[in-house]
């Protein structure tokens, strides 16, 4: 039926609530979650880390990309229960003491941001790429970001930004 999000389950009793522990951007949290809650729900609704965006809720757009134990994941596809005990980094956890991560800086300088809704996910996915491949080719950047949709920029300046961040040593968080 139109208007009904398929991932929302009904009739979930409070008694099914579970307690999980998450380390998010360095802070430890003990949280009560329902079985159908996703990591994205927990980040946005409980922890109010709204920098991570929901674009589709189905793992098709990448706007909700965060790092879980160092790897980029679509947080809308990870159940909160599955994330128990893991370490999460969101877009809010990148800049240290007001200093942008090199990938963030490159996005700003290269004009890779328009509406900005895909930006947090795009940045997290790009950092994930550079951790694996510090010097990716243009084609490797394009392939790595296929799961992150953007409707504004046409991707060109995003690809340039990732390339720029790589050549300035963006694989490392230069703190």
């Amino acid at each position: 039926m139109p208007g009904t999000s398929s991932r929302r389950k009904s009739n979930v009793k409070e008694s099914l609530a579970h307690t999980i522990r998450l380390k998010v951007n360095g802070d430890l949290h003990e949280l009560t979650v329902k079985p159908h809650h996703t990591l994205l729900d927990v980040l946005r609704d409980q922890l109010e880390l709204t920098g991570t965006k929901e674009g589709c809720g189905l793992g098709e757009c990448g706007a909700c990309t965060v790092h879980m134990d160092g790897k980029p994941v679509n947080s809308c596809l990870v159940l909160a229960l599955e994330a128990d005990g893991s370490e999460i980094v969101t877009i809010e956890g990148l800049a240290k003491a007001g200093k942008l991560h090199p990938v963030q800086r490159a996005f700003v300088e290269k004009g890779a941001i328009q509406c900005g809704f895909c930006t947090p996910g795009m940045v997290m996915a790009s950092i994930g790429l550079l951790a694996e491949k510090p010097n990716p080719t243009r084609e490797e950047i394009k392939q790595a970001l296929i799961g992150n949709l953007c409707r504004c920029t046409g991707y060109k300046k995003i690809i340039e930004a990732v390339s720029e961040a790589a050549s300035s040593g963006g694989a490392r968080d230069d703190e």
């Binding site: 674009g55 950047i141 394009k142 991707y155």
Partner: protein, 759 residues
């Protein structure tokens, strides 16, 4: 040429919103949470056309956590459309549902899960009615009626200049074709959403991702029957617009009614599936077009008969038609043109504005047909277009005043960049190049009888300059553009600029960000406000420096006497002096009035409805895979006449984003609608271009200088996608000799055409 020695204009300063956006601090409406907030959800019709026999809300009302359940009985009965004379939609369906997705009822509950569970407990008994989905079928005398009216043709538009039929008789070559486009989804990354909050004095605040807060406020007032002054519309950062958020949709009034019922703030957000399956779309056009030229290549006559699928309700259909007709007539210097169109109801999702506003549809048809004409004239497509150019400082036969115009230069530079003459001469197998031009508004339209704007500048005692503007930023960069204009005109650094916008209680009346108008209209107002503030500033500085204010220079936030930079005072000190010694702070008002707009008549068509025009040429190089039918776009060259580019990187970004949307329009995107039901309601099934799909894009800014735009600028928001699809389709023709007349061109169609083509 104007003095291009600017301090801030033309510089690639980073956007003022880019750091909040890259750190996740930027708040969008969907991120907002208010104390006591409830979640709303909407029950929508599962039938394309049905009578509503009975609605039972009792079970839903009985669910724990539900705070309100409402239907048509509980809300104002006013009907609404963007053009009130064509009003046809209630907040909720009263007796009939007219498309799959039509609003039947809504709930407010303590959380989203409960709201959606409650929807499932609402019982509705429907009697399905005959429905019609094809606009031509809907025009038949015995077609099912979508609304209770004589027929399904809701609006007609006829505009004719010169004598087309006589002129066709003088032509040596005439082409006649039918071109088709389909419904498309805007696919903003942030879905449509809002929070409504009533207060005890009967006021309503709507937090909403809208492109046009002031007109949205008028629309809410109309449908809710509230005085405009009781309503406040507040925007946040916006996850894209592209026209989808120009006219109110029913979420706003529904959230407002739920808030009135519960005295709590109520939030409603579309799921992505809901957005695909029920939101407004790009209007599909059926275009029968005809063009004729002499054997020398002079185009004498052009005619279009257009049938537009309106969907179930009225929105921007008449305006997009009028705009499409203007662009159809004004593109190239054609002395005789005729445009006849009708807008037809069907039982489908209805259309609205979508980047380009009818022009991407008509440009696809016109520019493809022009290539066929060139072929029959045995003429290079560029040569034919050069013979019929729009020219600067000219008046078209339709009375449109063209001021700045870079059409010729756009063609020349893009032909050079793509290697047109070499590549056309030596065609490789299954590889081709093609081109298309476009004309578009560079400054909105006078269509609505108003195209003006005010702005305010205040300078704080530390030298911080705050601009209050209505230039709404949906992601295109309007705030930064406005800040650059003010910084340049006032003579201060970008770092001292702040921009306040997005709130109808704060900003002056404005039509919103659409039609590529913000840079030109709001930019002119911002520039005048800065000039006004500068006048006060140098007056006070003159007293401090014991100099004639007219001899003073303001640069980088410092005022000095021209020729003696040694004797200078920072802006902050001037403000402090003014406040303490003169009892006056420093500010400015910009009042940009487009006087020609007040005479525009919404029903009479157009003559001088466009303040200035933007032009562009795009060229595409493609490779067709004969095994799979897949078209690979190797390169797009996009040369755009932007006027002065206030921020070149930002202007390029607008063009590149437009090109990629145009690429999707040409080859990938279409809402697949069967019996009124959208079948592809996710990004897996409705493909938009991803980073792996895109062609190489070379953007060239052709900076003509507009005589009326701020610092010579004109709008750049929409043109990017207008010529892309015809350029690609023309390149496919060059590659395989097959003319596609329907979008998108899919691999299946290419394979079929390759099989069927004569050998």
């Amino acid at each position: 040429m104007m003095n291009k020695d600017f301090a801030v204009i033309g510089k690639n300063v980073p956007r003022i919103d880019s750091i909040p956006k890259v750190t996740g601090e930027a708040r969008y409406t969907c991120d907002l949470k208010l104390p006591g907030m409830l979640w709303g959800a909407i029950l929508r019709s599962p039938h394309p056309h049905a009578k509503i026999l009975r609605v039972n809300l009792e079970r839903a009302k009985g669910l724990t956590g539900v705070r309100a359940v409402i239907t048509a009985e509980d809300v104002p009965q006013n009907r609404f459309s963007f053009i009130q004379a064509l009003a046809d939609k209630n907040i909720f369906c009263r007796e009939e549902a007219r498309y799959i997705g039509d609003e039947i009822a809504a709930v407010a509950a303590v959380d989203r899960d409960t709201a959606e569970e409650a929807l499932q407990l609402i019982e509705v008994e429907y009697e399905p009615l005959p429905a019609v989905f094809d606009p031509e079928a809907a025009m038949a005398p015995d077609a099912p009626r979508v609304h209770d009216r004589e027929n399904n043709i809701v609006y007609e538009f006829h505009k004719s200049f010169g004598e087309v039929d006589k002129a066709f008789e003088l032509c040596d070559v005439v082409c006649e074709d039918r071109y088709l486009t389909h419904q498309l989804a805007h696919c903003c990354m942030e879905t449509s959403n809002c929070i409504a909050q009533v207060d005890s004095s009967g006021g309503l605040t709507l937090y909403v991702n809208t492109q046009a807060p002031h007109t949205q406020r008028q629309e809410l007032a109309r449908i809710l029957g509230l005085p405009i002054g009781k309503i406040r519309v507040v925007n946040s950062n916006m996850g894209g617009g592209f026209g989808s958020k120009l006219v109110m949709d029913m979420k706003g009034p529904i959230a407002a009614c739920l808030s009135m019922r519960t005295n709590k703030p109520v939030k409603i957000i579309n799921s992505r599936q809901e957005e695909f399956s029920t939101a407004k779309t790009r209007y599909p056009y059926i275009m029968d077009i005809k063009v004729g030229a002499t054997k020398e290549g002079r185009i004498l006559s052009r005619q279009a008969r257009v049938i537009v699928d309106n969907g179930a309700y009225n929105d921007k259909g008449p305006s997009t038609l009028s705009f499409a007709s203007m662009m159809f007539n004004v593109l190239y210097d054609v002395p005789n043109t005729q445009f006849d169109a009708c807008l037809v109801y069907t039982n489908k999702q209805f259309g609205t504005a979508f980047r380009g506003f009818g022009n991407p549809q008509i440009a696809f048809a016109t520019e493809c047909q022009l290539d066929d004409l060139a072929k029959r004239l045995k003429m290079d497509p560029i040569e034919l277009r050069m013979k019929n150019l729009n020219k600067p400082n000219s008046m078209t036969t339709h009375g449109a005043r063209i001021t700045s115009c870079g059409m010729q230069e756009c063609m020349e530079v893009s032909a050079k960049a793509i290697g047109w003459s070499e590549k056309r001469r030596e065609p490789k197998k299954f590889r081709g190049i093609g081109m298309a031009n476009m004309v578009h508004s560079g400054a909105g339209s006078r269509y609505y009888g108003f195209n003006s704007n005010d702005a305010f500048v205040k300078i704080a005692d530390d030298g911080t300059v705050t601009l209050i503007t209505s230039a709404l930023d949906m992601g295109q960069g309007a705030q930064t553009t406005m800040a650059q204009i003010v910084a340049e005109e006032l003579g201060v650094k970008m770092e001292s600029l702040k921009v306040l916008t997005n709130d109808t209680d704060l900003t002056p009346y404005d039509l919103g960000s659409y039609g590529s108008r913000a840079t030109f209209i709001c930019g002119n107002a911002a520039k005048l406000a800065a000039r006004d503030a500068r006048k006060e500033l140098v007056f006070v500085a003159g007293e401090m420096l014991e100099a004639n204010p007219e001899d003073l220079v303001v640069k980088n936030g410092v005022v000095h006497v021209a020729g003696s930079p040694g004797k200078s005072i920072p802006v902050a000190e001037i403000v402090q002096y003014s406040v303490s010694k003169k009892g006056s702070s420093i500010s400015g008002r910009g009042h940009f009035v487009d006087t020609l707009a007040s005479g525009a008549d919404i029903t009479a068509g157009y003559l001088t409805h466009i303040p200035t025009f933007a032009f562009a040429t795009q060229m595409a190089e493609v490779e067709v895979d004969p095994e799979t039918g897949k078209v690979k776009v190797l390169k797009i060259v996009a040369a755009h006449d932007t006027g002065t580019a206030i921020n070149p990187v930002s202007a390029e970004g607008q063009i590149e984003g437009g090109v990629v949307q145009g690429f999707g329009y040409a080859l990938m995107e279409k809402l697949s609608v069967k019996d009124g039901r959208v079948e592809n309601i996710s990004f897996l099934d409705y493909k938009i271009p991803n980073s792996g799909d895109i062609p190489d894009i070379e953007t060239i800014l052709v900076e003509t200088e507009d005589p009326d735009g701020p610092f010579g600028a004109k709008g750049v928001g929409e043109p990017g996608l207008v010529p892309t699809a015809p350029a690609i389709v023309n390149a496919i023709y060059d590659a395989i000799g097959v003319r596609f007349k329907e979008l998108p061109v899919t691999p299946e169609q290419v394979l079929k055409a390759l099989r069927d083509r004569p050998r």
